[in-house]
Every structure is written in C-alpha cells, then in structure tokens.
C-alpha cells in the first residue's frame, strides 16, 4: 500500500463517471496542463448556460491551452439519472463526474452551484467563481490563457 500523494489542492474523494468507473479526485491530472472544474446540476439553469456556452468554444480552448474540463454533477438520487441523457443530448465533450451525496462539494467548500475552479498544471487552484452571468466565460478564458 502506498500513500496517496496530493498533487496539489484537490481533495481525495472517490467519484464515479457516467459509465460507473471510479476516479480518485486528488489524482486527476492533465499531464501538466490546466483543468477547469465546474460544479453543476441538471436543475441549475445558470450552470447549464455556463457549460453550454463553454461547449461552443471548448475545442478552441483545448487546442490553444490543452485544458480539460471536469463537470461535477451534484444531482442526487432523484435527478442523477437525468445527467447522462442531458450531457449526451447537448454533446458535451467534458469528463462528467457524479457527486450524488455532495462529498466532493463539501470537501471543496462549494456552497451552491455554479461554482467553477481553474486549476493550473501543478494542481493548484488559481481562480474560482461562484456565479454565472453571460460574459463570465470571457474572464475564465483570460485567466486560462494567462497561466
């Protein structure tokens, strides 16, 4: 048994993706490239607006910066079955993780959704924002390209 190495500031919480594969959140990395972590839910309109807006430009962001977006759904047992249909129907290319009992949400100190974090290539949270208004994605993009 080897101890868990904390890459940066991400807490060690086990989450499943939509296919049921488990991921230790602390060990997520993007080979030294930045990651965006966005907490959302199927019942949260601003969350969906944010992720749909980013989706329109996501390919360009990936080409330019190598970023990977991880969308953490806090939908509970009532609505978690709505996550996969929604994500696929919208055609999101993100890694979607399920946090049905808010374990990661608590560990990351998220009060309410949307809450978006920008993590640099060393696993350090360099920016976060607890809201979404049209135009907020521009600030995220500026921070991302400024890394």
């Amino acid at each position: 048994m080897f101890s868990i190495l904390i890459l940066g500031q991400l807490p060690s919480v086990n989450l499943k993706d939509m296919e049921g594969n488990s991921h230790n959140f602390a060990k997520l990395n993007n080979n030294g490239k930045p990651m965006i972590i966005s907490f959302w839910a199927t019942w949260c309109k601003p969350c969906k607006a944010e992720l749909n807006t980013i989706a329109e430009e996501y390919e360009d962001w990936v080409d330019e910066t190598g970023v990977k977006l991880i969308a953490v759904s806090i939908d509970d047992a009532r609505s978690s079955s709505r996550v996969e249909p929604y994500v696929n129907a919208q055609g999101w290319e993100y890694l979607v993780l399920m946090d049905p009992n808010s374990d990661l949400r608590r560990a990351m100190g998220v009060n309410n959704v949307p809450h978006t974090f920008l993590v640099n290539g060393e696993g350090k949270i360099v920016w976060d924002h607890n809201n979404y208004s049209p135009g907020d994605e521009e600030e995220l993009y500026e921070k991302l390209t400024g890394l």
Partner: protein
C-alpha cells in the same frame, strides 16, 4: 519554492524534495450566512417574529495533511429564519470528523454523510436550504480489498436537532454495503462495451423509543437492498429493489396506517438510450410502506429519516412551476412513471437555426398503490396487501412539460416552457384549498447580450388554474365560479448583469386571477448582488409569497414574509 509534479506508475511513487511539499497541509472551507429583517404585512399574512431578525450561519473548515483529514462545521441560528425547522436553535458546533485514508482504506470517526445505492434504505445527507441534516455520528470504514470490489460498514446515531450544538436521536443505525464493478475486476472486460456493477446493502436500526402502551414494537428492524447497473454501448439499465421488515409508525390521520406491522418494499427501474443530440429515458417506481426512521415516535416530517425516497419528476426552477404545486414523495407509497425525450435539432438547419435548438419533453405521473384492505387491525395488523406495480385510480400527481431553447444570434437567446400539472392537494396539504388542482403554466425567458460583459434577461410567466362549477359570492358581492386554489398568477422579472461582478433584478408576482378580489395581491421584490471570485453578497427587499420550497422531492413550506434579506457566501 519550486512546485513538484508527482508521477504514479505500477504502484511505485517517485518523490523527493522537502517534507512540506510531500505532505502539504491543505486548509479549505466555506461560510454561508443569511439574515432577514422582518416587517409587518397583514395583507399577505407575513410572519413577524418577536426578535424581528432571523439569522442562519454556517462555516465549514477542513484540514487535510497526508492521509489525515479533519473538519468542523460551526452553525448559528440566532434566531432561526422563519420557515426553517424550529428544532434548530442557538450557536455551536454541529458537525466534526476525523478521517484517515490510504490507497484502499478509509476510516472516519465522528460525523459523516453517506448513501447506499440510490439511498432508499440509507442516505445521510445535508440539504441546508430545507433544514435537513441527518448526518450519522459514529464510525465508518470503507475498504477496497481488490480492484473493482468496494465494501463499507458504518454504525452511528443520527443528527436530530440543534441546541447550541449537535443533538443526536436515540436510535442506532448500522449498515453494511458491498459493490462489485466487473469491468474493473477483470482486466479482460476493462474495455468491453458491456459494463456491469452490482451491489447490495443491509441496514438495521435499534431503538427503544416506544410511547405506545398498546403495541409491542420491534426494537430491531432490518432493511435490505439489491442493485444492478448495466450498460451496453449507448444503452443503460439500472434497477434497485428494497425490502424492509415490519416497522410500525403512528399515523393519527388514518387508522389503516397507524402502527401497522406490514413489511415495506420498493422497486426502481431506469432505462435509457442516449447519443450525441438525442436521449430517451424511462423510469418506473413501485414504493409501499417504506417510511424508515431511526425512531418510531412522531417527529417532524423530515426528522431522523434513514432512507431517502427519490421522486420521479423533474425538478422545476421557474418560480411559478417550482413553488406552488411541487411534487413531494408520498411516504406511504406510490407507483410512478416518468419519460424524458431530449433532442437537439442540429445547427445550420431550417428548424435548428444557426446554433441548433434544444427540445426537452418530460412526462411524469404518480398514483396510490392499489391496496386490498384485509380488516385485521384487531389481530395481525397487516392492514392491506399490494402487488408490484398494481395501481389504484387515485392520482397523486401528473406533470407534462416541454422546453424549447434556442440561441437566435450573438445577441439573443430564448427559452420557452409549457407545463401542465394535476396536483392532489388532499394528499399533500400545501395549497390554500385542499382539492385536486389543475394548473397550466407558460414561461418565456429571453436573454439579450448588450456587449461582452453586459446582459439583460426577461422572464415572463403565467399560471392558470381550472374553473370549478362552484358558484361563490365575492366580498364585492359578485357571483362567480370559483377557480381552483388561488386562481391565476402572472410573474415578470427583469435582470441586469454586469459580468463578472454585479447583478440587479426586479420582479413582481401578481395573483390577478384570485376568485376573491381582495386577494389579488402584488408581491414585488428587488435584489442586487456582488460577486468577486468565491465571495458573493446579495441584498433583497420586498414581499415573498408563501410557497413550498423543494429539493429532491422533499419540501418545506415557506411562510409569506416582507422585509430585507442579506446573504453572504464564500469559500476558501
């Protein structure tokens, strides 16, 4: 100090450099406060507590270093906000834990939250907006003995009230759960298109709270569950079965459910197919007699619940659709079906427009199970029998809704919704008139992007209830046919956002179609907020209508109020 990147491969970790970097101490947390200054408003029957001010505050601090993690939550209810459970009072620590984990084992002592399967026989969770917190206080062990095999066990008491600190209930909850992911277990199946996870749990409770001299209540009660998640390509199928042995609860409204010794059971299915731009999803639920608390005495509706009974309906967010006739799970039992269809009309087509158009259709319905009452309350007290998915003709709820969303150009976006509800308030008792209510709602939501940072958003909503054939005389002496419940509503909101820091919004709700002219009231509200990173301040002033606030099929009635609300949230 230079940052280090660690690599993990074949179980060997390569690391060096200073101790600080190997085991950094990470402190994280958040704070949330809501205060409301109440004003008298007899027109809307607004709550006016003696202390005039309600204030709820929460602060979490977590510390992680190496394999250890610890945290506390400090809570303040001085005094509790109106509408929040009155069993939350004072100021103090409501949650504390210490945990240790390595690659495949995690031990937690103190408070913890957990969920087994979909939570029907155990879900310890916090829904702060509703005042629900049934955290367990005890010990939990999670172990991953082999790849793809997950085991956990836990024992504890449940959080019940808050009186200058955490107050647990008397009952003890004990649970074990196992899950196998066959694709992680067998390397040969790792990349298979067929994926399967199976699991099972057993939960038992012990409690001696017995305040009835008439019946001999079981002190130990067990419940079990089995679940399977299967996938093939773009298909997905989930099933879960739960069973609970006799667990009598008082029911002073209906003798047929009062201290009955019938076993409870539930079955939940979900079948879905989804691909890019298209998804279809079907769910079915049979649930009977699955109320499951760690006490058998009468407590508040959301107190000491061990299990969570998920609702098969969409959670709505537009005000009139979300807060007047929201669905809540019927704990005695219900048979429910839900179907969802999502389609994105491709972009650059005639119907799809330049950016594509999203359409979502949802239909949900719930009925009371068909119960054959057997008249044995003098002997075995089974009271009735049911068969799986055999439903009666008494409807509890029906919801048909459609949403169309489209971005017209760089400036304009719209979202149109239509809802059709049938709501049996004789079962839920949250409306002003306890009757079968038929309501239709239409919503238009428009966003205009002025430039990169400035946007305007308008929301228009209307709600219309059915006219009854009951002739009434209004206070103005007019004879009219009464509309169901409070009649018709109109809602309008204008919101201006200045990204990334500011927003201001003004809204009005008007009960223009109330059959009683004196109750045709406007509820106006103005709000503004400032956001900077994870700090968020907001102020709100005006009238709030009495309504029902729901999360996950669990609802809380919120009284009408008038006054100034201040809130602050932040995380670090």
């Amino acid at each position: 100090m230079k940052k280090i990147v660690f690599f993990l491969f074949t179980g060997i970790s390569i690391y060096s450099f200073s101790q600080d970097d190997v085991n950094p101490t990470i402190v994280s947390g958040n704070i949330q406060t809501i205060g409301q200054y109440y004003q008298e408003d007899t027109l809307i029957n607004a709550a006016l507590p003696d202390q005039l001010l309600g204030f709820n505050g929460f602060a979490n601090v977590n510390v992680q270093r190496g394999n250890f993690r610890a945290g506390v939550r400090y809570e303040t209810y001085l005094n509790t906000l109106e509408g929040y459970p009155t069993s939350f009072n004072g100021t103090g620590f409501g949650y504390r834990y210490l945990s240790w984990s390595d690659e495949d084992l995690e031990l937690t002592i103190g408070n913890f939250y957990d969920q087994l399967g979909s939570g029907m026989i155990l879900r310890a969770y916090e829904e702060r907006q509703l005042g629900i917190d049934n955290a367990l206080d005890g010990i939990r062990l999670k172990y991953n003995p082999y790849k793809g095999i997950f085991i956990k066990g836990m024992i504890g008491k449940q959080r019940h009230r808050f009186e200058d600190g955490l107050v647990n209930g008397n009952g003890i909850v004990r649970a074990i759960d196992g899950e196998i992911n066959i694709n992680e277990m067998f390397d040969s199946l790792r990349n298979s298109k067929f994926k399967a996870t199976i699991g099972g749990s057993f939960v038992s409770k012990f409690n001696e709270d017995n305040n009835t001299p008439l019946f001999n209540l079981p002190k130990n009660v067990g419940a079990s569950s089995f679940r399977a998640n299967l996938r093939y390509n773009k298909w997905r199928f989930n099933a879960e079965y739960v069973y609970k042995i006799n667990d009598p609860y008082p029911d002073n409204q209906n003798e047929l459910f009062n201290y009955i010794y019938k076993n409870g059971e539930g079955l939940l299915f979900n079948l879905g197919y989804s691909k890019k731009g298209f998804a279809i999803d079907l769910s079915a639920k049979h649930m009977d007699n699955m109320l499951w608390r760690s006490t058998n005495v009468s407590v508040g509706p959301t107190d000491l619940l061990i299990g969570f009974l998920p609702a098969l309906t969409k959670q709505h967010t537009y005000n009139l659709a979300a807060t007047l006739y929201p669905y809540a799970t019927n704990p005695r039992g219900e048979i429910s079906y839900q179907a969802d269809l999502l389609y994105k009309i491709p972009k650059k087509t005639f119907f799809g427009g330049k950016y594509g158009t999203s359409i979502a259709l949802n239909f949900a319905t719930s009925y009371t199970p068909k119960r054959e009452f057997i008249n044995d309350l003098g002997s075995s007290r089974q009271s009735y029998s049911t068969r799986l998915f055999s439903m009666s003709d008494s409807i509890l709820y029906q919801d048909f809704n459609i949403e169309i969303k489209r971005k017209i150009n760089k400036k304009w976006k719209f979202n149109v919704n239509y809802f059709n509800f049938i709501f049996e308030d004789r079962a839920v008792l949250v409306a002003q008139h306890h009757e079968l209510i038929h309501a239709q709602i239409a919503v238009l939501d428009l966003t205009y992007k002025i430039n990169r940072k400035h946007s305007l958003r308008w929301e228009f909503q209307g709600l219309w209830t059915k006219t009854t054939n009951e002739l009434i005389t209004t206070t103005e002496g007019e004879s009219v046919y009464r509309k169901e419940d409070q009649g018709d509503w109109a809602f309008a909101q204008l919101e201006y956002t200045f990204s990334p820091h500011w927003y201001v919004a003004i809204l009005d709700q008007y009960n223009y179609g109330n059959s009683e002219p004196s109750k045709r009231i406007h509820y106006g509200l103005i709000s503004a907020g400032f956001i900077n990173g994870s700090h968020r301040f907001s102020l709100q002033y005006g009238k709030q209508r009495a309504g029902v606030f729901c999360v996950g099929g669990v609802c809380r009635a919120v009284p009408a109020s008038n006054g100034l609300t201040f809130s602050f949230t932040s995380s670090f």
